[in-house]
Subunit: 289 residues, 2 copies
């Protein structure tokens, strides 16, 4: 196997939903970062090229590994070992794309988070349990013997962000503070009566207008209701399981608090480190291939 | 009582959530309509004045009745007879504002739809049952002896609109067609397992990408999931009840289909007619007051 830590600079490009970011890597260290704002709806090769250029690298000048592309390569069906999926060369370029994961029943699609699973498993060989990957979508992935056996997806983060900017809620979510008790209360409500999600949202608006509910509490209630409804549905994925959490800090804090409240032991991880470990493992497979 | 059908022109201004529209009325007929796009987040007197000007009337030139204002007058607690709530004169103007309805437990707030309830009851004296008012928010109001006894609110329309424009769903909701079977299927899913709302949304995305789910089906599934989860929570409001539906046509079609599927007899109404009947009844109370 080629030791890529001594190889020439290369680019890692993450186009997972809600993410559009890239790293220039050199000798195992990050020497530049770039992002596109807002992230594209349907990420394609042009977005990858734009990110690579922002790293200060001509699009064809450094080898690149890309995840989260829509279109080819086609997603790979589970069960599958993410650490063995071979990146595919993009015709006429110096870039390789990682396929996502698919599940036929119930229908599920992962486009990008599979690189973080591969990174986690590269750093934690032999780990069995459930990996919760959260961002705009949340994926709960059952992992056994380095293999993703099944996964279920939720649009929780997308819904929270979309609701937070609606005219009827936006003016109520003032400030940036967070109310732990309000989060726990809303979480418990939605876990025991998940069908009350939309009425719970209307209650936030009513309490804000009638009782001067602070923004910190309104925001915590919004996320508590959405994560509570998700946990009620994802119960088979966390009940009695070992759970590892891969998510940006804010999101990870909420999921960790929610899971710890259910008595679930949660292993926190560094999301960027998992991502780069996954890309590095893929780069090694390309070099070895 | 003064017969307002012979009175001078007056304005009706509806600032309920997601609505910002006004009518110039003369002898019981509409002689002009105006709207503000987009509707304001926190509707105040300035928005009412802007609408009145668009009707071709100077803001102080014609008497106006306004519903849906945030701030004073304070909402009136239920139980209450909407047909007896007195509009309050806005200091230094020729305008009167109708207070909304509030409920303390569970917390609920209606700002504007109370005028449609009053209109429905003015046209259907003695009617008892449940009125479902749907728009950005849905209110289910239990009515007995002309009184709103209790109500429950849902942010279903807000959530549907917000989700439809998110990057992960937007590109999947192509076209304007509608798939009745997909709506019924998603409705049944969410009514029996309402906690699966967020995973059902993720499945729409997965099916669109993996199986080429048509936009007509994706859109119908989105609304089916959201309305199904709402019906699961609002069951005490519709089960075994006589339900009258007051909503814009598209929304009314969806709710009527969903309720008829549960075996509930639904009385459809003309939403603008209910609104104007409510304003006209309020105008009569002002003239009589």
């Amino acid at each position: 196997m080629t030791d890529v830590s001594d190889a020439r600079p290369w680019c890692a490009v993450d186009l997972a939903p809600g993410r559009a970011r890239a790293w220039l890597l050199r000798g195992g260290a990050v020497s530049a970062r770039a992002t596109l704002t807002p992230p594209p709806e349907v990420p394609d090769r042009q977005h990858a090229d734009a990110l690579i250029k922002r790293l200060g690298t001509p699009a064809d000048g450094a080898p690149a590994v890309i995840c989260g592309l829509s279109g080819p390569p086609a997603p790979v069906a589970v069960p599958v070992k993410p650490g063995q999926i071979q990146p595919q060369r993009q015709a006429g370029t110096n870039a390789h794309a990682l396929p996502g994961l698919r599940q036929n029943s119930p229908p599920a699609l992962m486009q990008g988070d599979e690189v973080r699973i591969a990174g986690f498993l590269a750093l934690n060989p032999g780990w069995d349990g459930v990996i919760c990957l959260s961002g705009p979508l949340t994926h709960w992935a059952q992992v056994s013997a380095e293999e993703v056996v099944s996964f279920q997806s939720f649009l929780t983060g997308v819904a929270a962000d979309a609701l937070a900017v609606t005219p009827v809620l936006h003016a109520r979510l003032t400030g940036t503070e967070w109310d732990d008790d309000a989060f726990a209360d809303a979480l418990d409500t939605a876990m025991s009566r998940p069908e009350r999600l939309a009425s719970g949202l209307a209650e936030i608006r009513a309490m804000a207008t009638l009782e001067g509910l602070p923004g910190s509490e309104a925001r915590a209630r919004l996320h508590g209701l959405l994560i509570g409804a998700e946990l009620a549905a994802a119960r088979p994925y966390w009940l009695g399981q070992q759970v590892a959490l891969i998510a940006p800090d804010d999101t990870a804090n909420r999921y960790a608090a929610a899971l710890v409240r259910q008595g679930v032991p949660v292993a926190r991880t560094d999301e960027e480190r998992m991502t780069l470990a996954g890309f590095t493992a893929a780069r090694r497979r390309i070099a070895a291939g």
